[in-house]
Symmetry: C2
Subunit: 879 residues, 2 copies
């Protein structure tokens, strides 16, 4: 018989495989804790497989698990000496979701199951605590009502709030047993009214309803969005964990808490957690009561605190990773409810990885693989300039580090709308809930008025690598008026603020930033990564400033220096335009002669900075019309400067107009039509090299790149032009210059004809932006109109402009690599599209055995780490 | 030792291989005639290989052929009993070019070589004809001067013309020996003046100069252009034929002529030729004297005429093809100078092929292979409507059949310029010369005032399949004023005229045309072709008129019915615009409901015509903005009709604007974003089918085609939509409809992922227009700006939008075919790009084992023939 249910309790666990795939993350970790002999409330896990059967069975509980489930409940009953629905000693249980991958707050949970009008009386008697028993019952009705029966939970909350208002009290704890009795009556009335049925008194009906609800929550809207954002597949399904309840809210010898074994924000090795005396776990997570620092438990519950510290160590040793833990103390007995690998900031990830290597918990290779390269982004971007003047208007908890500026917005939908308009926002909420997930994803940063360091906002923001300041209790948010107040400041929607998630400060306006510091642990990890990677990492850069940043970040050369950006400079654009508007070759040559000294100077500066390293210079690529003026005013402007008639300029502009510029007269097609342009550029490069040589600067290794080649003939012709120019300049300056000539592979035909093309190329650089555009037939500029429909419809699993489409574009890259190397073993291969800084694309480049990747300066460290990870994963696969 | 020179004379020939590659066309045929025992002036052929050596040897005669050449000359001397440069009995020789492929008039020839101041005296003595001898000498100086020494030939012509003016005569024949003596002196002075050297008296110097000049003429500008137009490679090179001179201008028992063994215009089996008594061949070809019909030779030179007739038969039997022959009669002795396969019109090609099958000269298969499918185009286009009123202004010789209308233009350059502007022209010239070749290529038709049926204009026009009226002696052309007169008519440049190359008539204005007749021999060839072809031939058509034409032309279904063309109809466009401008789904559905009846009606009409055959309907493909108004006026127009503000229409237009519409929101991307549009179209198709069924019309086999697919998910989703719609309609109308769903393969990724895509597709149709655009990254709309540079630079051998680029695009087609069939053996494969009507692309489709090609209605017969040729070539290759 197929094993679908796995038991865990004080005797250990049935799971020998410890597999998250079957048990889900929570179930696997509960099983593991039971095996370690930790105090886990007895229970069992219904496997993810059953979730699949559930959906196949028309969203009904599959028959085959019914008797097994009953048997497992009876085992819990035996251990706890309680019985589900028993009138004298009733067992209460929790029913929780648990997918392969943690989806915090996205799926449903039911607590206190087993209570009804009769068992609640037994609970009162056994605990001698009527208020506690009734509170449990109303919580259960409330949860069951909203999760299983689909009643909007604000209806219950409203009743409580109204009652407190009438009674003139503020906190729930101020309500007594009698008060809860009345509310229980009201809650049941709502259920009767909305569902036309009474609240179920049958405990088995309760159980099956709760299990079904957990399975159904796998496909709730918010769970689906979360999976979409995190690229998780829909077919995995969730497991269901059924466990005996333990209570942190039975009195002052009870407590509940969450903890990280290290500081998830800084990575420091210290206990980091929060707890509440006499509370259930949801009170901590939801942020409705502000919890205490866990360290203070050493005075309130010292024995438990010491036990916890020991368990933390035990779990870290077992999992070799920082753990995120939930626990409950019931009448002075500690129960472990959950452990999992804790989410952390990029900075913390680095510190933890480095520390654990020093603690000999993990190897350097493991440390490298432990860091999500994508999250490094948050560390590589500028931080607030300490010297800048700041108008601090409020402060809160430093929940997720990093600085962000943007327009204040009060709703998730608005944040999303503004993101589509390319506007930066700060999402400001009293507290966040799973419904806000879209908006949190869209915003640059998150600010909440309530909630601690482990509140929803804090946890999710850290997971997303977004700056977050939580629990900024000094601010007053008015959703209706769309303002928030802080002292005398009134901040309106669309006002710009800056938040610093590292310090918890909130500032008015946009605060200037400075370059990040990448020394210390960061640099240690980078050095380890460099040791293990095979791929070289270059940068895409065309300004001295960017080139300097990239080299500081460890770039090993330039993989793409776009020469056209140099043309847009104010002083030059007029000569560029003159060149384009020329009617004769001679006029064009005159205009080019004016551009030559500028280009030469550009190259000299860049060559100095990249001294000793390879620099790939791409010759002019965009269609000429991009350089021409667009507005009447600009056209008028150049008529004077160029002494041409308005009419003749306009006619040339309309002559150069293209239907599809992306597929137009650009790239090497310009070099074929106007060889004098490419010749000028080559002259500038070689003269710059000659100049460097004269000044005894260690030369760069120049790689001259011909763009948009689709046939061998193009590069054959243009290579000849480069070679002839090189020869001329070498003769004039009596120098010997070593250089390479190669091509971008950015058209499907170039990939297919790579063998011919390699005859004339010393290197290929995959221009994956254009290659993706032409392979898919999608213009990136225009794709916004339908890309969303494509992601919604699961046509694109990932945006192919972010991560290489391995099955389509990737096949062309593989084909070009094989055929190119077949022709020329020494062919150097790299990638210079924006994919060059994307970890999963870098993984593909390593698998495909390219020589280097090239990415934007700020992504160079990400690429260095990703390259090491890719190599380590690869050799692991083949060892 | 490598054999580089091949002898031919009355003893036969040295060539055993009869290879045009080595001997060139002319040399191979001379060798063949010698073998047949025909009277060929003795000589030898210097092989094409030597041309290669010549260019490698810095354009100098390679040493290794010098002694061989001398030996061969001595053999001619032995046979003719004359000696080169001999003072008493001098040998005169001709030096002619001869490439693998006939390039009429494109390369150089030197006649009468061996004459100098001394040998001319011997010639005079031996022929007792001083005038003849001096005429020969001046011709030789003139030819040698222009061809070898590069002096512009008009300088010589001018001298003759001036002299005739002074003397008061009109024809050359009115000049006597003394006159020529004077002109010879003047000619030699020009040479001295231009070259700073005397005209060479050394006969060996003359010989090497002439051979070099022939080799050099291989790379003359006009020869290069000719090869470019005809897709001939530059590396073939030319052979050189050196032969003893024979003279048609030694008196009235001499003559020279050219002849076709059948009528090259109609194909009729009759001797068709022209000759001149007492003339050299150039006089006939150049059109300077109007020659006589060859049939009249039966009275003037009956014995020679009978001999010629016998030789014509002999040659046709040997070559199994209609021959184009040159001959000379010297003192009543017939000499054969050339035979080659004759150029002919498409109509003649068909008649000759059919006749030769009936004469048992060739098989049906050979007949099929004998016809250049591309030339059929001229027969398939409308001819002049006999009933239309015509204002005939002149007439001439029906030199090349077909009718053409266009603007009168008097220069080749102007014709070319206007073609670039998409304007039709008729090139009107006194006579044409090889320099006019570009303009003849650009013009729709050619009209000359001088020259016969074998003049340059006539021969070239027939080769190009262009209508031509030659020798229209009634018209007077004034190049300077840019007019021509005919009687009282004065036709100015840019006036429109129509020429009918079948009747020789010239008409004012544009004359209406009627559908061509494709019965008789044409239909016979088509039936034979149908027997031998494997590929089915369908048509691209979306109007009932075109569909009818295509079916009459033998189309076996529709391969591409574009539904968007149906949207542009005046009555519908407003609903289309309303649909696009809709802000809500409901508004859009309302607008679509209005379009439904129109679409249904369209389909019913087409389905009736194609009854019983497959019809592939492509769902909406172009981006929606194509349907929106472009001008202010049009926008104003619809504001009223749609009751929308001008501003909101403009904002929607700008919202829909795309940078690169070719790669934008179009094709199935529309179907994903707006499924209701595709649903309406499917509904129209299925309702039309139900309607046909009710009316007992034999149903078409509908194939619903999803455009621009790049992933399997797209077709999976949209196929579901089609299937669901089909089910609905079948239920409503209680009918059972058989249909297929498939996709266009028009993006590189679709080709690569063909295996996945085939899971959801019953057929693939290769959209080679877009596939070529994306594979090359070239927008066809914009390629005009550089395509010319690409052809000039030999980057494109052929325009990839005309013939499939087999090595790039073709690889993707092959990959898609293999992978698609791997998934689904029954997958039906076709091509519907414009390549579907191009013979060389059809050849590729046969090799790739597609099931059908689809082309424009007028190309259906071309495709039928090409498909048969492709199959016959293929089985020949593999038998």
């Amino acid at each position: 018989m197929e094993k679908l249910i796995y038991r865990f309790n004080n005797k250990g666990s049935q799971s020998s495989l410890n597999s998250k795939d079957i048990l889900g993350g929570k179930g696997a970790n509960l099983a593991q804790m039971a095996k370690l002999g930790l105090p886990v409330p007895p229970g069992f896990t219904i496997s993810t497989k059953v979730c699949e059967y559930f959906y196949k069975n028309n969203k009904k509980i599959p028959k085959k698990i019914i008797s097994q489930t009953k048997k497992e409940v009876s085992i819990i009953e035996k251990i706890t000496k309680k019985k589900l629905g028993d009138l004298s000693n009733p067992l209460l249980i929790s029913v929780r979701s648990g997918a392969r991958f943690s989806m915090p707050g996205m799926m449903d949970t039911i607590l206190n199951l087993g209570l009804n009008d009769k068992t609640v009386i037994a609970l009162k008697k056994n605990t001698s605590n009527g208020r506690f028993a009734k509170d449990c019952y109303r919580r259960f009705i409330q949860m069951y009502g909203s999760v299983v029966l689909g009643i909007e939970s604000y209806l219950f909350e409203e009743l409580i709030e109204n009652f407190k208002l009438t009674k003139g009290v503020i906190k729930d704890t101020e309500l007594n047993e009698h008060d809860w009795d009345g509310l229980i009556k009201n809650f049941k009335e709502i259920i009767k009214q909305k569902t036309k049925k009474n609240f179920p008194q049958n405990v088995n009906e309760q159980l099956w309803g709760a299990i079904s609800a957990v399975f159904l929550s796998w496909n709730s809207k918010r769970a689906k969005i979360y999976r979409k954002i995190n690229y998780l597949p829909d077919h995995w399904g969730t497991a269901v964990n059924v466990q005996a309840m333990v209570f942190g809210n039975m009195g002052n010898d009870c407590a509940t808490g969450v903890a990280f074994t290290r500081n998830p924000s800084t990575g420091k090795k210290e206990i980091f957690g929060e707890y509440l005396i006499n509370a259930q776990g949801e009170d901590v997570v939801a942020g409705t009561r502000t919890p205490k620092n866990l360290l203070s438990m050493s005075s309130s519950m010292n024995k438990i605190f010491l036990k916890l510290k020991k368990i933390f160590n035990q779990l870290e040793k077992k999992y070799k990773d920082m753990q995120d833990i939930e626990f409950t103390v019931e009448n002075n007995k500690l129960w472990m409810l959950q452990t999992r690998s804790g989410k952390r900031t990029a900075r913390a990830a680095i510190k933890i990885a480095v520390d654990m290597v020093q603690e000999k918990l993990i190897s350097k290779k493991e440390a490298i693989l432990r860091i999500d390269a994508n999250t490094l982004d948050t560390l590589l971007h500028p931080t607030l300039d300490e010297k800048a003047e700041k108008k601090i208007i409020a402060s809160g908890l430093p929940a997720s580090p990093g600085a962000a500026s943007g327009k204040v917005t009060f709703s998730a939908d608005e944040a999303e709308r503004l993101k589509d308009q390319m506007q930066d926002t700060i999402l400001v909420r009293i507290e966040t809930s799973p419904e806000d997930i879209n908006g949190m994803h869209a915003a640059k940063g998150i600010l909440t008025a309530r909630g601690g360091m482990t509140s929803h906002a804090a946890v999710v923001a850290r997971g997303m690598g977004k700056p977050c300041v939580s629990g900024s209790s000094g601010i007053e948010i008015d959703y209706e008026k769309k303002i928030f107040k802080s002292g005398n400041y009134i901040i309106k929607e669309a006002d710009i603020i800056t938040i610093d998630g590292g310090s918890g400060k909130i500032m008015l306006g946009e605060v200037p930033t400075v370059k990040p510091d990448i020394s210390g642990d960061f640099s240690k990890i980078m050095k380890w990564a460099d040791k293990y990677r095979k791929l070289k990492v270059r940068t895409n850069s065309e300004t001295p400033a960017d080139t300097k940043i990239a080299r500081d970040f460890g770039a090993e050369g330039i993989g793409l220096c776009r020469t056209e950006h140099m043309f847009f400079d104010e002083k030059r654009i007029i000569s560029v335009r003159q060149m384009i508007l020329s009617k004769t070759l001679d006029d064009r040559k005159n205009a080019l002669a004016k551009l030559l000294p500028y280009q030469r100077k550009d190259f000299i500066e860049i060559f100095k900075i990249m001294s000793g390293l390879p620099v790939t210079v791409r010759l002019l690529d965009p269609p000429l019309h991009e350089f021409l003026p667009k507005t009447e005013k600009d056209i008028d402007g150049i008529t004077k400067e160029l002494n041409m008639s308005n009419q003749s300029i306009k006619s040339r502009i309309s002559e150069l107009h293209e239907q599809n510029p992306m597929l137009g007269h650009r790239g090497c097609r310009l070099g074929i039509s106007f060889p004098e342009i490419y010749k000028m550029q080559c002259q500038a490069i070689f003269e710059a090299l000659a100049e460097c040589k004269k000044k005894k600067i260690k030369p760069v290794i120049p790689e001259i790149m011909i763009p948009l080649v689709s046939t061998a003939a193009e590069i054959k012709i243009l290579r000849k032009l480069v070679d002839e120019t090189a020869e001329e300049i070498q003769k004039i300056h009596s120098v010997k210059i070593k250089y390479y000539v190669g091509t971008m592979i950015e058209l499907p035909r170039a990939a297919l004809r790579a063998k011919d093309i390699a005859r004339y190329a010393d290197f290929f650089s995959f221009g994956t932006n254009d290659l993706t555009q032409t392979t898919f037939g999608i213009s990136r500029d225009d794709s916004g109109k339908f890309l969303n429909d494509y992601v919604e419809n699961k046509i694109f699993y990932k945006d192919p402009f972010i991560s290489i489409d391995e099955r389509g574009v990737g096949e062309l890259i593989k084909v070009a690599t094989e055929r190119g190397r077949m022709q020329k073993k020494s062919l150097k291969l790299g990638i210079c599209g924006e994919h060059g800084g994307d970890p999963s694309s870098i993984d593909f480049c390593e698998k495909t055995k390219l020589n280097y990747v090239s990415c934007s300066p700020y992504r160079v460290p990400i690429a260095r780490l990703s390259a090491a990870q890719a190599y380590l994963k690869k050799i692991n696969n083949f060892n």
